[in-house]
Assembly symmetry: C2
Homo-oligomer: 187 residues x 2
């Protein structure tokens, strides 16, 4: 319930207004009573981000349901990433612009979720080019994610159109599509 309130606050009022006090107020608790859920704002942000990653993962899993090939799966993941970010821009941006007060080590439960997402991408890439070494496959997962992330962040912040008239979805398909053809060609 507290994390639902945090998500709603974020999307309605932006990251500056996401505080344990505001979350408590929204669900009719005192700030002190939330201390057992969130030790401080950093903890609230990290738990919110973890929940966001769960929802992103659910969106990706559902997009992957009917993909007949690794190529179709990777294209579907790109689309799902963009559509999640477009639907929940404030929560999605908080993952990358969390502004934690202290440079803390991320909890393992959170980094594991991130690793699983990269593992998913790497799995489809490996299926596409089984003879490539795992390090090269992981590099491809990282650069493809970076590429899709870039088009997504430009789209979500309204900066994409300075570069042309194509919508983000077609750019993501263009980027992933040509990259994969190049990958297969060079392997």
């Amino acid at each position: 319930m507290a994390l639902d309130a945090a998500a709603a606050l974020l999307e309605e009022q932006g990251p500056e207004r996401l505080t344990t006090r505001a979350v408590a107020g929204r669900i009719g608790y005192t700030a002190g009573s939330l201390y057992f859920l969130f030790r401080n704002r950093d903890d609230l942000v990290l738990q919110t981000n973890e929940r966001t990653l769960d929802e992103l993962r659910a969106g990706i899993d559902s997009a992957l349901a009917d993909c007949p090939t690794p190529r179709a799966a990777l294209l579907a993941m790109g689309r799902a990433y963009l559509s999640f970010a477009a639907a929940h821009p404030a929560r999605w941006r908080l993952i990358f612009e969390h502004g934690l007060h202290e440079p803390i080590e991320l909890p393992a439960s959170l980094t594991n979720k991130i690793d699983e997402l990269f593992g998913l991408v790497a799995g489809y890439l490996a299926a596409l080019t089984p003879e490539r070494d795992p390090h090269a496959v992981r590099r491809s997962a990282q650069s493809l994610w970076g590429g899709v992330h870039g088009i997504t962040v430009l789209a979500v912040t309204g900066k994409l159109e300075v570069g042309g008239s194509d919508p983000a979805e077609s750019l993501i398909q263009d980027l992933i599509g040509h990259y994969l053809v190049g990958l297969v060609q060079l392997t």
Copy 2:
């Protein structure tokens, strides 16, 4: 001189501290006397961004000096984009996170500089695949830029390493390199 001061302020103290008053203070003028240079903060931001684009362009031109092929030129542009952003992170980010107070139309002098950069990318892409139609070439320029931008923004904000261990430069080369092979293959 005022724009030099604005650039230094930005890199030293971040975008929040970039005000006409702070720029005036830094060069020993009164805030009022700068009114003839910058009508307001939005104007200061736009002029600063224009100067940043000029320097980015100079960095790209110099990286392009010894490129024997369109492929080498596009790879060099990716490297130059990353290295400019890494060297001047606050100024580079201000282009995309300018936080203008009003949703104003960008001045033509600024959008022309952006168009010229895209024209440069599109020119090399067209040289690589002369038979493609101009709209498809422009889409490629937009998706490649988005991709390089994404890896760069993750690198500059310290988020790239959640995805793997490869440095941004090698990811950008990987992304552009495979994309171009795919492009030539499909044309």
